[in-house]
Symmetry: C2
Subunit: 408 residues, 2 copies
């Protein structure tokens, strides 16, 4: 099947080189396609690493490998396979990850635990070790590639390559944070997987990097949803080389810590948005803000209840100002809410207040807002100070076509 580029796509940005980070790509031919599908990213000795991994109870062996290696805090390379997720493959899947790590470690003269591995694609088929090893050998011999090539090589059925960049001043040095990500594409018969990789030239202590990434994740990757389904392979890794020459950032009292946290948050936010913009069948990007909840966590759960509601998402697809479905989604979230305090807006227009439609409600400005590509829904609960913003896309015939009509 051929899928057109998402109408919400953004062009790939100019990403700076990060000294100590070298990307190479190769054809492992995990599927019968003629494209690069193996990415090998070499990292200078001393690179710090942090990560967030899927909460799935049925994770891929790659996820288990990364979970074990992360506490060591150091990385020398990242290997990403596209076309085969290696998930649910038992001992043979574990053996494939071990073989990849061993081969890359031998090439670099480092420990296998310094090699991070992620895979995305078909489930239930062990990653073929011979193809992985041959692909790796080809990658070792390949010339360095651009960030855009690397971002394209980790894609499965994403419709555009995704990257982002931001900067911060840390201890008097300007540091760069860049990232590439793939997600919300689909290879039947498979679930979408989000894989994101961040590369930073600042010197950052792994524990501090982990804390900052965890916080940034909570307000970015954990705030997006396409269909409420969670992959067995979701992985976000951050690598910090230290080449910028700043004094190592190790705690919130250090000079530039706030700026670094803000920049990391910005980068994660940008990357998360790109995934929603490539949501399967997406025609509209939807931002949902819930305020006045009893807590931020409660606001988040209500916002995700709205964002995952098929009825809300189909209404937006139909450009229908169906605020009743928002009420429904608030009501079913199971969180504290009082119908008669609830207020709802679409874009800048208040549609309901105090539990009923506003007097003289005029649908015209709402209808105009809903014709756009970027839709805002605001909910005010009137109970407390809790707030959260999440992002999703609309639910369209394109989603059904991608996931039901076409078989591998």
């Amino acid at each position: 099947m051929s899928i057109e580029c998402s109408p919400l796509a953004l062009p790939f940005p100019a990403l700076p080189a990060i000294p100590g980070v070298t990307a190479r790509v190769a054809r492992a031919r995990y599927k019968s396609w003629d494209r690069c599908d193996l990415t090998f990213i070499e990292l200078a000795p001393g690179t710090a690493v942090a990560g967030v991994l899927t909460g799935s109870r049925c994770p891929s062996p790659e996820v288990e490998w990364c979970r074990k290696a992360l506490p060591l805090g150091e990385a020398r390379a990242l290997v990403v396979n596209a076309g085969n997720s290696n998930a649910f493959t038992g001992n043979r899947g574990r053996a494939a990850v071990e073989a990849i790590a061993a081969r890359a470690a031998a090439h670099l003269g480092c420990r296998p635990s310094d090699i991070f591995v992620a895979s995305t694609g078909v489930i239930g088929v062990p990653l073929p070790i011979d193809k992985a090893e041959a692909g790796l050998d080809n990658a070792f011999a390949a010339p360095p590639c651009s960030w855009e090539d690397a971002a394209a090589t980790i894609m499965t059925t994403d419709t555009f390559a995704k990257g982002a960049v931001t900067r911060a001043v840390v201890g008097g040095k300007t540091v760069s944070l860049i990232g590439i990500i793939k997600g919300s594409g689909m290879i039947a018969p498979d679930m979408a997987t989000m894989l994101g990789f961040l590369f930073i030239d600042a010197a950052v202590d792994p524990a501090f990097l982990q804390a900052a990434l965890g916080d940034a994740n909570r307000k970015s990757f954990s705030c997006i949803t396409v269909d409420g389904d969670t992959s067995t392979s979701d992985t976000v890794l951050a690598f910090a080389t230290g080449s910028a020459g700043n004094a190592v950032l190790a705690g919130d009292e250090d000079d530039g810590a706030d700026a670094f946290r803000a920049a990391l948050q910005d980068l994660c936010h940008q990357l998360a948005q790109l995934v929603v913009r490539d949501g399967e069948g997406a025609q509209k990007l939807i931002e949902i803000t819930v305020e006045g909840a009893e807590s931020d966590a409660s606001a988040h759960r209500i916002a995700m209840s709205i964002a995952n509601s098929p009825l809300v998402k189909t209404a937006i697809a139909g450009e229908d100002a169906n605020w009743g479905r928002v009420v429904m989604a608030v009501g079913k979230a199971g969180e504290p809410a009082e119908r008669d305090r609830l207020a709802i807006r679409f874009g800048a227009t208040q549609v309901a207040r105090d539990g009923l439609a506003v007097e003289g409600y005029d649908e015209a400005p709402v209808a105009a807002h809903l014709k756009g590509r970027e839709i805002e829904i605001g909910v005010e609960l009137g109970l407390g100070e809790g707030r959260a913003t999440v992002w999703t896309c609309d639910l369209t015939h394109g989603y059904i076509s991608i996931n039901a009509d076409y078989r591998s």
Copy 2:
């Protein structure tokens, strides 16, 4: 828009009269349609009542009214409005319910709290009191109607009228339990609503009826899902007239209590299945059984995670034996599960065991099973004795068309 009858529809069964229960229908014209949309069901004095109501935090005033009246345990009439749910309408919505109850109570010479009211349809528009009162007056004057007419009058965009019957022997008497239900139809711009009404000729104490209905609900209405969205108006009410002449059933030690509970369970099961069979856009009925969980509740949550997964539901729509998506849905449920003990079957065919595809897995019998109308998915967790079965339908272009393409 015109919607064809669901391919999963069943014919309306022959339902016996329940002495003391008289249904009448009328045109209140809540929408600009020429069909009966108000149902008035008179109940003999002394009729016991029990009910289960939506857990939504934003319920309709009808739901609040029923919640308040249920503990009194007695009912003299049920009024059902179709075409306007009266939800999210503030004080004006409450006034409409009070007016309906007052008028019906005056007609019957009973307390307003003996009148039960349910409404389904457009949200955010107060139910017009003048239409409701005129409709009621017409209904009082109308001749009794058939159960099929009553079942058709409570429909919104359901594609077929739904009813069921079962019997039990209680204290030496054969008693009849019948029910009508509507649900999973949709009136844009609105959410689907499930309204179910059971009529029983046995004499049953209200507290025992409530306990039995609660148990039956947990294994029937609480085990179905079309899209994971919960209406603000979901209501199931059971009325027992006592006309069968049995000694009042008041506890589990009474003669026939087990048979009565089993029959009530059977009736609720039948009615719940009918709702899934009329799921929006449904082409296939899917039964999901989870076994070997740590508890029944855990099994239920995992089964609902599978049943609500858009990726599983689109795979079934595409007749795709995509067991990887079932693994994904088990993994994301957040319940105890061990990947390497997991076994999955489609129909009678085992596809995965011990966390990977079965040796020599042959997709042919699975593909044949998936071409049918009734699909079975089995998951064995290998952890304990917990089990649950839930029902859903596939997710098709029809769902998108009903909920996005057509505006009111």
